[in-house]
């Protein structure tokens, strides 16, 4: 019930009771309520004519960076005794200094300016209209207005740098880069020998081998290094990323995606990104800083979604032909092995970077004996899952998110993969 109506009802009640009992003292009890009502009418808010201007110090920032928001509200109408000016903040942004709402007196033709400082989580945040609620001093008359003003703040993912990610796709592009192309030519790494051809540099002649032959001179051949097509797939399925207590490992997956994309783009590769989450989104492949910016913007918007499995994960052949490199960033679940095996069977070279959900979840559960036992069982299951993947020829980086990403990548990829070890062991036995 409105406060005015309640007051009026009580006044009627008192007056009628007083008149009915012919009791003047009783009628006089209505006086405080009547005066209170009159005070509401006196200098109540008039029609609001306000305009607002919002200035945001930056449009895109890194998480943890402070953003200054400056607001100016101008009153083009009559005086407003008490007006609440509220700048509704998007979710996941919080005020660290100052105030996003003010309760002020705005004189006629006057204005007020103030600033506050924000910080927030990764994402694209849209600012809405500023809410103005004008009231008389006693709060009996209320007038509301939405002051049109817009703003957007993009908080990019955190950046973790990785110097080099050693990938070995079966197919490369024609441009020179740093990925071994399995073809002889100009390069740094020794690839093989071939007969000397006119035009070969004398520095490339392998004198030791040529000396053992009668009429033939051999030249060293080096492995060509080129750029490659790389598709990064970020797994944003809620069931593998989120755990009890609203803890999520997804931010670590995003961080890994940024690091991988930045490193590969810096080496000249053609990189695309597919986010498999709340909305499935492709960032079509491209080169250079512009592509990095596109990927960063798409990663800023990445959110986890309800998909249960990778049923709709289709790698477009037009963008990524078979034999190109796919990097899946996912905590993984038991049912993923078959799909990844299918991708391998289609000819894709697959690298899985898997933030370890077991150690991540165990950290938040304490160290009781039952938790330790459960962790051990979960770790064994994961080990089996990763082993199955390696058996299908997938390179796997098991990343304990408590360690720096670069350290995990370096230690996992700087040595030959498990299946290469197995091949070498097999050759040794023969």
């Amino acid at each position: 019930m409105s406060r005015i109506v309640l007051l009026a009802a009580l006044i009627y009640l008192i007056v009628l009771a007083g008149v009915g009992t012919l009791n003047g003292t009783m009628v006089a009890l209505a006086l405080p309520l009547v005066l209170y009502l009159l005070a509401g009418l006196w200098r109540g808010p008039e029609e609001m004519h306000l305009s607002a201007e919002r200035t945001i110090s930056a449009e895109r920032v890194a998480p943890g960076d402070s953003v200054f928001v400056h607001l100016t509200i101008t009153n083009h109408g009559g005086a407003l005794e008490q007006v609440l000016l509220h700048d509704p903040l998007p979710a996941f942004l919080s005020v660290v200094e100052g105030a996003s709402s003010r309760l002020v007196n705005l004189p006629a033709r006057g204005s007020i300016s103030w600033s506050y400082t924000l910080q927030g989580k990764r994402g694209s945040h849209y600012f809405e209209n500023i809410q103005a609620i004008a009231e008389d001093r006693l709060g009996l008359m209320v007038k509301r207005a939405a002051l049109p003003t817009r703003g957007q703040l993009l908080i990019l993912p955190s950046i973790s740098r990785v110097r080099h990610i050693p990938i070995q796709p079966r197919q490369t592009r024609v441009y020179s880069g740093v990925i071994p192309a399995h073809q002889g030519g100009t390069g740094i790494e020794f690839f093989g020998l071939r007969e000397y051809q006119v035009g070969d540099s004398p520095h490339h002649i392998n004198w030791r081998v040529s000396a053992r032959q009668d009429d033939v001179i051999y030249s060293n051949e080096y492995e060509q290094e080129r750029v490659a097509d790389v598709g990064i797939v970020l797994d944003g399925r809620r069931k593998v990323n989120e755990f009890g207590g609203r803890r999520s490992i997804f931010e670590d997956s995003v961080l890994a995606s940024v690091a991988v994309a930045s490193s590969l783009l810096a080496e000249g590769n053609r990189v695309g990104l597919f986010i498999y989450g709340k909305r499935n989104r492709w960032t079509s492949p491209g080169y250079g800083k512009y592509q990095r910016e596109r990927i960063m913007q798409d990663l800023a918007l990445a959110e986890t979604g309800e998909s249960q499995n990778f049923s709709s994960l289709i790698i477009p052949r037009r963008l990524f032909p078979p034999n190109s490199q796919i990097i899946l960033i996912s905590p993984l679940s038991g049912g993923d092995v078959s799909l990844l095996a299918q991708l391998r069977a289609r000819g894709y070279q697959l690298l899985v970077i898997s933030p370890d959900p077991v150690s991540f979840e165990a950290r938040g559960l304490g160290d009781s004996p039952s938790v330790k036992l459960a962790t051990r069982i979960a770790r064994l299951q994961r080990e089996v899952l990763l082993r199955e993947l390696r058996h299908t020829g997938v390179q796997v980086v098991n990343w304990d998110v408590g360690r720096p990403f670069e350290q995990a990548v370096r230690s996992a990829l700087s040595r030959p993969t498990a299946f290469l070890h197995a091949i070498q062991r097999g050759q040794g036995k023969r």
């Binding site: 019930m1 005066l35 309760l103």
Partner: protein
């Protein structure tokens, strides 16, 4: 400050009416009033501010009824004024929570208290003037005056609401 004033107002209106009824040997009613006052305080403490209108209405009706129980009119007036204060300050307290600026809150508090003091001062002055001036009216004249008053209040309410 506003929070403390809400507690003080509820306590004051409860104490005035409890004392008034107890002094006239209406002990069960005075205990009921005391319990209602405690309930109001507990509801406010738990942030259930929407019940303040109900509590305010109940205390106004009790103040009105106290006159039939021969409670001194000044205690009934205290019941009305302090319950009005408690109801108003509860709403004001909610409004203050919408602003995160302490300076604004202090300024607004000062202005609000000044307006309330004006209303209370005028109410007391009006009440004492009304109880001092004795005019003998017939029932018809009193009823006409009451109708006039009701029409005036209705016009006022209509105007206030049409401005919203």
């Amino acid at each position: 400050m506003t929070r403390n004033l809400v507690y003080a107002s509820i306590l004051a209106c409860t104490a005035a009416l409890t004392y008034g009824f107890a002094a006239n040997d209406f002990v069960p009613i005075s205990i009921t009033v005391a319990l209602l006052g405690i309930a109001w305080i507990v509801l406010f403490m738990h942030g259930l501010h929407r019940f303040s209108s109900l509590a305010f209405s109940i205390f106004i009706i009790i103040s009105l009824a106290s006159l039939w129980a021969d409670v001194p009119p000044l205690l009934a007036l205290a019941g009305v004024i302090f319950s009005l204060l408690a109801w108003d300050l509860t709403r004001f307290f909610q409004r203050l929570q919408n602003t995160s600026s302490p300076q604004d809150a202090r300024k607004t508090e000062r202005a609000h208290f000044a307006r309330l003091a004006l209303v209370i001062g005028l109410s007391l002055a009006g009440y004492f003037a009304a109880t001092r001036i004795h005019v003998t009216l017939t029932f018809g004249a009193a009823a006409l005056l009451a109708l006039l008053g009701i029409w005036g209040i209705s016009a006022l309410v209509y105007r206030l609401r049409s401005h919203e």
